[in-house]
Amino acid sequence: MGEPETRIENRGEAQAESLVLQRLREQFREAMLEVRVWRNETTVVLAPHDLVRVCRFLRDDPDLAFDFLSDVTGVDRLSLPEASPRFEVVYHLYSLQYRRRLRLKVRVNEGQAVPTVTGVWETANWHEREVYDLFGVPFDGHPDLRRILMPDDWEGHPLRKDYPVEASPKWWEEEPV
């Protein structure tokens, strides 16, 4: 399906996105581990320890103004060709003023914590709880890191690739007949 890109939502977008990358490169050249543009979407991979300062810059810089955090989620890369570090935490940023999206990512291994961005965008609170619940990625400095969708005493993290789709831990003891 090697068709060329047919959905161009906004003509100025391609240029505007390079402005985001330009500004980021000026400020954080060493922090940007990887940059990818696909289907008109920009992804920037950061090291976990750079995440919060980059986010704060993206929110506060008047030319970028990423004031709206759309979404935070995770990906378990266990079955991908490049499986290490295992987990990816994905942030979808949005600028209400410039109508621009940006995807940030950090990658961590099992047990390694990601700094919370709740200090930058309050909305990250529940999203990070969900990633913690379903992937088992802890967030450093999170004000209320509890499971959110699964019961508190649940074992395992369902969205991990090595968590079976159909089997579930036993909840009750069967009485002998």
Partner: protein, 390 residues
């Protein structure tokens, strides 16, 4: 100094005003809410996990079950994301059908909101009226897909089947009758002093807090923030339609009510335009690798038989990569984050459910207010637990 004694009250998960299975742990000082902690997850069905083991086209019925009041919006969010990853655009007629039906879905979803919201606050009759109109839209759903609620009508590459004969007339009849009905509901509530007392100045949230909390949809627009995905990042051809984005000012329960009522009028307007645009034409992309060939070709064309076999035996694959596609669902920004590893099943799908994010703003809205206001505020947020828990 005597210590203040507060009482902890469990509201839900079986409370009628929580619109499903939401549990709120309220800390009360008399009747005043000191603290509100929502507990969710009672309806968690692992839809995102389930999608990973289904082929791209097979995942659509699962999305119906998220926001079950707006199943077609969920379908659209998923198929648009897959189509974006594939790099395809569906034909004009399919786009128009999608817009027509998702706008009817918006009206239908808002009608349930209005009916239940009013009922929560004691206005019984509105509920009955709203469900009468909703039933007409459900009939339209049934006519196109055979299902009243879980319609799963959209497909990657277009829609499942063409509209049935006489469908346009049925839609036209509904669209003709609807404005007068809407005016009736407004007459019951908008200027009603009881309604205003229960809603004006209740559950207020400031513009800044709403943005920081990621609130979207009518709840965000009620604070005066102009953000509608249909305008900001048009999809399915919304840029060709004339409509306005209603805005509120105060960010309270009343403004959310006003915004949604106005949105139904705009959806009605868009639906009329879509009906006018509905010209004959293909309803699917002309790509036999995505869309099964017509049945009559199977006995005559070897190629068609091969495509048919391949499609039903293994589906199609999507190039490796990742996309985020947002749509303006009735509740707000519904985003699909899709990761493909190049195979015939999604590697990961995540839905940014608007209700999930909007509910997070509830504690900020009810703090320091009365228990009765909590009911009003939940209703005004228009949450659906199926989507929150996924």
């Amino acid at each position: 100094m005597t210590a203040t004694r507060t009482m902890t009250l469990n509201m839900g998960p079986q409370h009628p005003s929580t619109h499903g299975v939401l549990r709120l742990v309220l800390e009360l000082d008399g009747e005043v809410v000191v603290k509100c902690v929502p507990h969710i997850g009672y309806l968690h069905t692992g839809i995102e996990k389930g999608l990973e083991s289904k082929r791209f086209q097979q995942g659509i019925p699962l999305t119906d079950r998220m926001d079950y009041l707006a199943p077609l919006s969920n379908n659209l969010a998923l198929v648009l994301a897959i189509e974006k990853a594939l790099g395809i655009t569906v034909p004009e007629r399919a786009q128009t059908i999608r817009i027509l039906l998702t706008e009817l879905t918006r009206i239908k979803s808002h009608l349930v909101w209005l009916g239940t919201h009013a009922m929560d606050m004691g206005a019984m009759s509105v509920f009955i009226y709203c469900f009468r109109e909703r039933e007409t839209i459900l009939d339209l759903y049934e006519a196109v897909s055979g299902q009243r609620m879980m319609s799963s009508y959209f497909r990657v590459g277009g829609v499942a089947v063409d509209l049935p004969p006489g469908f346009e007339d049925k839609v036209q009849a509904f669209l003709t009758a609807f404005p007068a009905r809407l005016a009736e509901y407004e007459a019951l509530l908008t200027a009603n002093p009881l309604w205003r007392q229960r809603t004006v100045g209740i559950g207020t949230i400031s513009r800044e807090d709403a943005i920081a909390l990621g609130v979207s949809g009518p709840a965000l627009r009620a604070c005066g923030v102009l953000y509608d995905v249909r305008k900001a990042h048009p999809y399915s051809g919304y840029e060709r339609y004339q409509f306005e984005v209603p805005l509120g000012k105060a960010g309270d329960v009343y403004d959310r009510y006003v915004v949604r009522m106005a949105e139904m009028r705009q959806s009605h307007r868009i639906a009329i335009q879509a009906l006018e645009r509905l010209a004959p034409g293909p309803i699917n992309v002309a790509d036999p690798k995505l869309i099964p060939p017509p049945k009559h070709l199977l006995k005559r064309s070897m190629e068609a038989l091969i495509h048919h076999f391949k499609l039903y035996a293994e589906g199609f694959s999507v190039p490796a990569g990742e996309v985020y596609q947002a749509i303006e669902a009735p509740k707000g920004e519904l985003g699909t984050y899709l990761v493909s590893d190049g195979g015939n099943r999604p590697y990961r799908v995540h839905f940014r459910a608007p209700s999930f994010v909007n509910l997070q703003a509830l504690p900020a809205m009810v703090k320091g207010r009365l228990v009765a206001d909590v009911v009003a505020v939940i209703g005004s947020l228009d949450i659906v637990l199926g989507e929150i828990d996924r």
